[in-house]
């Protein structure tokens, strides 16, 4: 398999369709990243040596709740599962009350709260819509809304060891494990 560096000429427009990691200029095709050249169905692309994460439908992501409104929570995304690398700026993701859990949820703030770290699945790429309906998905770390101390799991609810406050969340099965 051929290894190319950025700027290497790898063909012309008439030969192939430009795929990932390829750019076209004046009818010629050049590699934009270093990696192996792959040709599939007339589409030529470069398999890069390092992948810049791109969020697609179905990906599992890690984020932090930065705002909770009536029916929607806004999430700042930080990582895509499987890649330990910063995401490019895609804007805020949205978690709608109907996608939080399988049962009816009356109040969104009894499922997620400000500053919670959540694990969620992307159900729509446009507008970055998230879902936490699976058991694995949901809050993996939360702080007490009164004293901001880290909350510990106590059965189905979270308990604050500092002030004794008890709060409800849509908990992930990974809550408090420190991994996701």
């Amino acid at each position: 398999m051929k290894f190319v560096m950025p700027g290497d000429k790898i063909g012309c427009k008439e030969e192939f369709l430009a795929g990932e990691g390829i750019y076209e200029e004046n009818g010629d095709l050049f590699a934009a990243v270093a990696g192996k050249v792959v040709v599939k169905d007339k589409v030529i692309s470069v398999e890069p040596i390092k992948i810049i994460p791109e969020i697609e439908k179905g990906d599992v992501v890690l984020g932090r709740i930065i705002d909770v409104r009536n029916s929607i929570a806004l999430v700042e995304l930080s990582r895509k599962k499987g890649l330990d690398r910063d995401l490019k700026n895609m804007g805020l993701a949205a978690l709608h009350i109907s996608n939080v859990q399988n049962e009816y949820l009356k109040d969104l703030s009894s499922a997620v709260r400000y500053m919670d770290i959540i694990k969620a699945r992307v159900i729509e790429k446009e507008g970055l819509k998230l879902s936490t309906q699976e058991d694995e998905m949901g809050v993996i770390k939360a702080i007490c809304s009164i004293c901001k101390h880290e909350m510990f799991r106590d059965g189905d609810v979270l308990k604050c060891p500092n002030c004794g406050n008890v709060e409800k969340r849509k908990l992930s099965s990974d809550y408090g494990k420190g991994e996701w």
């Binding site: 950025p6 050049f30 934009a32 270093a34 040596i49 390092k50 910063d86 490019k88 700026n89």
Partner: protein, 252 residues
């Protein structure tokens, strides 16, 4: 170092027949060692030795830019920091940015902005940090070479590669890749950076000059720099391939 102090009193002889002070030919580069991907937490990194210059480059991103008002809705912002360690020069350098390093950061950033495909990452930023651990003339060129390899290592899409080399005029002769003595006692110093695409030099991404040269001397300098840049480009390519190939062997 004590020898050069004694000679500092007066001008020193830099050219001996067809050889230079350190025994190199006029068109000969210093020894170059490049290693890609040396920093674990950086998205892309590079260690580079160019003669007595030692630099480390790290690339982070594309990632979110803070503060927010610096974001550009149509393309990525590139940030380049050239920084010299206090111990990188003979006399301790006061740490932190100064007039010189701010200028070098600016011109180097502009050279790299010409090759990075910024329009692919709107509202994001790519941060490039280059630290000079040991300086011996032409550290900005060493930094650009290291930054270029680090960017490729990070997988940032680029139109081509940036390769940089300096030419100096010492004792009336144009010499490639000057070391400290030639830079300090020579008549001129001209750092070049080229955009290399398709294995050929396509354009000049950076050109500075300190001192004075004639038109013909500049042409001569350009010729020398092109020759040196192609040699460096080969080494940059090897560094990336070496890392990539050893990695694919480990992973089966």
């Amino acid at each position: 170092m004590s020898e050069s102090n004694e000679e500092k009193k007066d001008e020193i002889q830099l050219i001996f027949g067809d050889k230079r002070l350190d025994g190199r030919r006029f068109d000969e580069l210093r020894n170059i060692k490049i290693e890609a991907g040396i920093l674990k937490r950086a998205d892309g990194s590079c260690y580079l030795e160019m003669g007595k210059n030692i630099v480390v480059a790290a690339v982070y991103g594309p990632r979110e830019v803070h503060p927010r008002h610096l974001q550009n809705p149509s393309k990525a912002v590139i940030r380049y920091r050239y920084n010299m360690a206090p111990f990188s020069v003979e006399e301790r350098k006061r740490p932190g940015p100064d007039r010189r390093s701010v200028e070098i950061s600016k011109v180097s950033r502009e050279a790299l902005e010409a090759v990075i495909m910024k329009e692919l990452f709107p509202r994001s930023g790519i941060d490039i940090f280059v630290e000079v651990l040991q300086a011996d003339a032409g550290s900005r060129t060493a930094c650009l070479n290291a930054a270029s390899v680090a960017l490729v290592d990070a997988g940032v899409p680029m139109k081509g590669m940036i390769t940089s080399v300096a030419v100096a005029k010492a004792d009336g002769v144009m010499v490639l890749d000057p070391m400290k003595e030639e830079d300090n006692y020579g008549e001129a110093d001209i750092p070049f950076a080229f955009l290399i695409r398709g294995g050929k030099i396509e354009s000049i991404a950076l050109l500075q000059m300190d001192g004075r040269v004639t038109k013909d001397e500049l042409r001569e300098a350009f010729k020398l720099a092109k020759k040196g840049a192609m040699e460096i480009y080969k080494l940059q390519k090897e560094a990336i391939m070496k890392k990539y190939i050893s990695e694919s062997v480990e992973n089966g």
